[in-house]
């Protein structure tokens, strides 16, 4: 009898110990891997960047047949800047004649691992960023449609149970269907695992000043509480008959925090205290400034920042060079800000920088004011990108691949982020990725 009782108790106890714990995210167990860092900031250095003016540092030498080479991205890459025909800086006497001073004492190339020649098979902006975020080539994906396979935000939230305000997607605008990339239409994922999207130069720009800045501040208990009670009643009645609305799952506290953030940003903008880079004369740089504010306020686990001013290259090569130089300045400022202004993220953040695609080998025939030719993105040269990683546990001063030796693919980025945040096995087990290899697997 005693033995039977012992076996019974042992079985119950064993079952209790091995019983899976169901997280709010719907998964059974916490993520299985160890984190290399608690935060990832991924800068989609997007808009279409030619290898020739970035990694290869050929400036005007290659593109305009003018003998001036040099590095205009000296926060990210090692190399001396060009000395002749400077058009990429700020304006002193003539347009762009004064290069922006370097932000970082050590380049990201020296601090991290640099894949110099990476493949990107799709050469459209939306398809490219879609691939960066989903780890899948969306060959059947239409424009103006949400991704068909889950984004890295959804994997992170579903597989590790992260809150909505721990994942941010910050775009430099609302064009190019960019706001659609906060979550996919995949039946097992979707809105409830999406990221908080923000296009700050719209939210806090002229339209925002006019229509959002004057928003009323309701008292949380005395006004918002009864208001929400009535709304929930109305929504419950509606759910019995009507359709549900997509909801990214911010809790009431998180929503309150976002509203407070929006309010504070208008105040900081008026005070001139937004964390903009020293030079912030472009949409990309303003976006970086507001992204710094998001990092400081929310300390997100995953932040994706989308830049795209370099796309001006179609018709204005000088503007493209300026945008490239400013994007580098912005990335330098961002890394410096994380290390020096956000103690919770300092030394505990990995930054990844990669374009969504390159640009053509041959010009398109459109000349700008400097008689420089523009470049589109459609040929095989557009399939050439780079990938830079810097942060804890990542080899410093390591360069992999070269012009004649492609190593890595754009679809390796999503598993790389998963590996850094400790859920690579889980993301691989979904079977939804185009490649199970991260960039770490390629070193």
């Amino acid at each position: 009898m005693k033995r039977r009782k012992f076996i019974k108790k042992s079985l119950i106890g064993g079952a209790a110990i091995t019983m899976p714990f169901v997280l709010p995210s719907g998964r059974l167990f916490a993520s299985s891997g160890n984190r290399m860092a608690d935060h990832v900031v991924f800068v989609a250095f997007a808009g279409g960047v030619r290898q020739q003016e970035s990694v290869l540092q050929r400036y005007l030498d290659d593109s305009q047949a003018y003998p001036s080479a040099g590095n205009i991205m000296y926060n990210i890459l090692d190399g001396a800047p060009p000395t002749d025909k400077i058009v990429y800086g700020t304006t002193n006497y003539v347009n762009g004649d004064t290069p922006i001073p370097k932000m970082l004492s050590q380049t990201l190339q020296q601090q991290g691992t640099f894949f110099k020649e990476v493949n990107a098979s799709v050469v459209g902006h939306y398809a490219g960023v879609n691939t960066l975020l989903t780890g899948n080539y969306m060959f059947t994906q239409g424009l103006r449609n949400k991704p068909l396979t889950p984004t890295i935000f959804e994997y992170l939230r579903r597989l590790t149970g992260e809150k909505a305000t721990k994942t941010w997607f910050i775009g430099n605008g609302i064009g190019n269907s960019i706001p659609l990339l906060d979550y996919s239409t995949h039946s097992d994922y979707g809105a409830q695992y999406g990221a908080n999207f923000l296009a700050p130069i719209v939210t806090f720009g002229n339209s925002g000043d006019k229509h959002l800045k004057n928003a009323k501040v309701y008292h949380p208990e005395e006004e918002l509480d009864p208001m929400y009670k009535m709304k929930y009643f109305l929504d419950n009645v509606w759910y019995s008959q009507g359709s549900a609305l997509p909801n990214i799952g911010n809790t009431e506290e998180e929503k309150l925090e976002i509203k407070q953030f929006v309010r504070d940003m208008f105040q900081k903008k008026d005070n001139g205290s937004i964390a903009f880079p020293p030079i912030s004369d472009s949409g990309d740089l303003q976006t970086i400034g507001y992204a710094c504010e998001v990092l400081k306020r929310f300390k997100p686990t995953l932040t994706v920042i989308y830049l795209s001013n370099v796309d001006g290259c179609h018709g204005n090569f000088s503007s493209y060079l300026r945008s490239l130089h400013r994007a580098d300045h912005g990335v330098g400022h961002l890394w410096d800000f994380i290390q020096n202004q956000v103690p919770e993220m300092s030394g505990n953040t990995t930054m990844i920088v990669a374009p969504e695609h390159g640009r053509n080998d041959d010009p398109n025939g459109i000349k700008d004011a400097n008689a420089f030719y523009g470049y589109d993105h459609s040929d095989s040269n557009s399939q050439r990108i780079f990938n830079m990683m810097v942060g804890p546990g990542i080899d410093s001063n390591l360069s992999i691949g070269n012009e004649n030796n492609k190593v890595g693919d754009i679809v390796n980025i999503a598993p790389t982020i998963a590996e850094i945040l400790g859920f690579k096995n889980d993301i691989v087990n979904t079977g939804l990725l185009a490649s199970n290899q991260s960039f770490f697997d390629l070193i």
């Binding site: 909505a164 997607f169 609302i174 706001p179 906060d182 999406g194 990221a195 908080n196 999207f197 923000l198 296009a199 700050p200 719209v202 939210t203 002229n206 339209s207 925002g208 006019k210 229509h211 959002l212 800045k213 004057n214 928003a215 009323k216 501040v217 309701y218 005395e222 006004e223 009864p226 208001m227 929400y228 009670k229 009535m230 709304k231 009643f233 109305l234 929504d235 009645v237 509606w238 759910y239 008959q241 009507g242 359709s243 549900a244 609305l245 997509p246 909801n247 990214i248 911010n250 929503k255 976002i258 509203k259 929006v262």
Partner: protein
């Protein structure tokens, strides 16, 4: 002669039997009343532009200019959580002097009428008795609930997103 009178008598009796015993059938009639169906068959999600232009017309009783419509739509597109975005835009509307909502004293003077009209104004349908009971109880137990708060709740509710 007698036979003639007899025939007339038979004819009269037959006539009375045929037409006098016709039983009148009762007629049941219903008074016709106008009522919109519960949830009013709303199954299409409003676009951001539709939502904002309808909401603005509802609150200000005037049309929003096309420039402002584009600007407000862009503001909403720039914030991922649409509930948060709508709440910020709507609370900005409520800060305007031109917004047309009933005063709190008018609301409190006839709660039944207020909530009936609010359902018609926002949902274009009649209130159900269950809904009426909830709101009347809620208003009575929360004397500080204002007409603005009620309008905010309706404008932010999911049913208002559909048409």
């Amino acid at each position: 002669m007698n036979m003639h009178i007899f025939r007339k008598f038979i004819f009269l009796i037959s006539f009375l039997l045929i037409f006098a015993c016709n039983k009148e059938e009762p007629v049941y009639e219903l008074n016709q009343i106008n009522s919109s169906s519960y949830n009013a068959n709303k199954n299409k999600l409003k676009s951001t532009m539709q939502y904002i232009s309808i909401l603005y017309a509802n609150l200000f009783q005037t049309a929003l200019s096309s420039n402002e419509l584009v600007e407000i739509t862009n503001c909403i597109e720039s914030i991922g959580d649409k509930e948060v975005a709508h709440e910020i835009v709507l609370s900005s509307f409520m800060n305007s002097q031109q917004v047309l909502i009933p005063s709190d004293s008018l609301m409190r003077s006839d709660l039944n009428h207020f909530i009936e009209e609010t359902y018609k104004r926002f949902y274009v349908r009649d209130i159900t008795e269950a809904e009426r009971k909830f709101f009347i109880d809620f208003f009575e137990s929360n004397p500080n609930v204002s007409s603005e708060m009620v309008y905010m709740a309706f404008a932010l509710s999911n049913e208002y997103q559909f048409y």
